[in-house]
Amino acid sequence: MIGQILIHLLFGLAVGSTVSYLTAWFRADVRLARIGRALFSLMAIGLVMAAAMLVIDVVQHRFEYTYVWNYSSRELPLHLLVAAFYSGQEGSILLWTTLVALIGVILTPYARRHQYETAAMSMYALILCFLTLLLVAKNPFSYYWESFAAQGITEADVPLNGKGLNPLLHNAWITIHPPILFTGFAAMSVSFAFAMAGLLKREYHAWINVALPWTLFGTAVLGFGIMLGGFWAYETLGWGGFWGWDPVENSSLIPWLVSVALVHTMLVQKRTHGLVKTNMALAVAAFVMVLYSTFLTRSGILGDTSVHSFVDPGKFAFWILLAFMISFTALGSWLILSRRTDMNVNREDFSPTTREFMLSIGAALVMASAVFVTVGTSWPVLMEIVGQPKVAVSIAFYDQVHLVLMPLIFIVNALSLLVQWRHTTRSVFVRNLGVASAVTTALTVGTILSGLASVPSVILAATAWFSLIVNAQTGWMLVRRSFVMAGAYVSHTGIALLVFGVITTSQYAERYHAVLVQGVPTEVGGYTLTYTGKEQIERHFADREKLRYDVHVSGRGEDRTISAILYWSDYNRRQSAFLEPGIRWGMMNDLYLSPKATELENVWNARTVQRGASTVNPLDSQQTITLERFTMPMEEGPAEDGRMRMAAMLSVADPSGGTSEVKALTLISTGAGGPGFEPVWTPINGGPVEVGLTNITRNNEDPTKSTGELAFRRQGQEIGTPREIFTVEFSVKPLISLVWIGVITMVLGFTFSIVRYVRLGR
């Protein structure tokens, strides 16, 4: 009850804070600003309380709350219980809102110090109005009996256990990836608030200096969060790669790309006082794209196009999200347009041989990437809106446009460092360009000699080398003076490394399909793979059967065991296993073992036959056998040491035209891993071949379509236990480490720059 009241109260506080701050701004009223600040602090405290309450409810297994029941269970360890707090839609909105508020708490004194408090915080608090309203619509504190009142659930019915957390999420990544991603999202609100405040105050340059460290922070954190998602997909989910251009991935990438462009155009304005309107527009766009992403991924409209599953948020939340997005787009555009003549104070064309020109072009190219990704992701929705047949865009689209954009971005990036601000000395430029081009050519030739053949990849690699050389050279000179100055160059180097990782994994990766019979060495691509056996792990949990499949890998300098995991969980009623790849990490390459299927060796010449259908006797092709029906256990007499008897009635047709009836019997034992079948061998027509029943798959929808597995052997033939067959995809991913190293390097560069601009801002 307290939780629900608290959520409503938070919305009230957000509105109160916004109104106070806004009035304080218009009337320049210090007293009202103090009230706005107090209300904001109260709201932040309230949000932390709400978050804490939800965590406590989850940890204490208070299943009377629908949310707690939906996303957690008694079996979860503490770190996953805490993570369950934001595993669902309601909780993740609460996490996002709380992070926005907490950043606001740090932002308030910062903004006050720069005389931006009332203007910026009124906009910031307005964002929180929408977020808290969203929480009112998606209240995480709804009671179970409220949610299911229609099904006749009353207050007395409290579930004994929750539904648990999707086993795919059972790992350390869920405790860090979402909070970091949402911190990045939350930080995007800051640049927006400062841009709006700049417009309100008619200060079109000062806000840049105030907002720059925050924009850098948001970009760095969001970039890191995106990478963690890719790492998670690679390491646990076994999607094979780290990036699939899935709508959910794209929707976090789009705001990141916009804010990358924004960082560069802000820098141009800082140095030249140009691009005033561009910066306003990009600050609005970066924030609105966060909202658009949220809308795309939370509204369920992309349901059929993503590997992520979406939950329909309900009409109310859908419209709030849409209104949220439209309102802020309208507010931003209106403020920019109403001040447009006012902003036209400094109009000059950049000369093409200046850094400001190159940075503007670079930012435009990055924005082009953002636009392409947005269009690609939204295409199914756009087509539906204009009444066309629904269309999805395949990964090829993103690859193709980026094979054009990335080389251009690298070239412009390198040129931007070879030229200077305002005016470039021709001789210096020519000399630097000459050196960089020579080194680039040499390295590109080396790359081609090492086997890179596809022309677009060679062009991409050449431009990445160009950018890498120029950045390393410039960065190295600056590092010796002060390493915080080198932030940008470190970041660019990271991007180049990332792209090299993308090239090596896409062009040089080896993929092999391997069918591994237990104990039998199988050779693929110079490696010898041997499936040595499986072992159950995490036995202390009753809700799962988690099996570790060990594969010994030798050859090409390797001699070790790589283990993949098959995970049967009560979460999906053990109907299908969750698969986790096994990875041998390395600087030079990763060996990646992705499970595909497991089955038992068909030692009995087994044939699966549907009721009413026929098969040819595999040991006597003259005979055709039809499965007429199954008998019931009671027809076959009493159970034998706890095992039921069942049989399949077969009719056997001989070439002579005669038919006879044979009963294929089995003994069924029941166990935790499903029923076990032991065939009772029966000779067919007194001949040399015996038949037995080794499996029955009941078809509940249509029992006449149930199937049986018939096994055949020669009379008296001894048959050993069937060995297990483990089918895998085994791949070698060269230099995939560059992807992670690249992103971490990029984030590190951002950190240097944040330190630098925070110092400058003091």
């Binding site: 539904k163 059929d304 047949p389 990964i395 446009v401 698969l579």
Partner: protein, 129 residues
């Protein structure tokens, strides 16, 4: 007109053309089976797995086969190059990307939509207790 607008507009136009061609060549239409057959090219078909017809994974050929039924109720055998997709058994619907050849939907990808039907339904444990 200022040269910078001309340059900007022509660069934007070139990028737009590149984008359009990339989009055109990689767009995959959602279609039902009748339309998929008529088009004869790769499309995405939304439907369900016909449980009673079973499924099979041939490990040595790395081919997964099952029968799907589209939203119009038409059925077709599906041959997927690759293993059984994750959560196939519990999926409430499947999105199959492929083309129809000789009456078989030759698939390159099968997306499974996990049951959100469980969301919003009280648990079984509850109903039994």
């Amino acid at each position: 007109m200022k040269p910078r607008y001309l340059i900007g507009a022509s660069v934007a136009a070139v990028l737009a053309v590149i984008g359009w061609f990339a989009l055109d060549s990689s767009a995959v239409e959602y279609a039902d089976l009748d339309r998929a057959e008529k088009l004869g090219k790769t499309v995405q078909v939304v439907g369900t797995w016909v449980k009673s017809e079973g499924m099979n994974y041939d490990a040595s050929a790395d081919v997964f086969t099952f029968t799907m039924q589209d939203e119009q109720g038409r059925r077709v055998p599906v041959r997927l190059q690759g293993p059984k997709p994750n959560n196939f058994e519990i999926a409430v619907s499947v999105v199959v990307k492929g083309r129809i050849e000789n009456g078989t939907l030759e698939a390159t990808n099968v997306l499974t939509k996990c049951p959100s039907k469980y969301e919003g339904q009280p648990s079984d444990a509850m109903q039994e207790s």
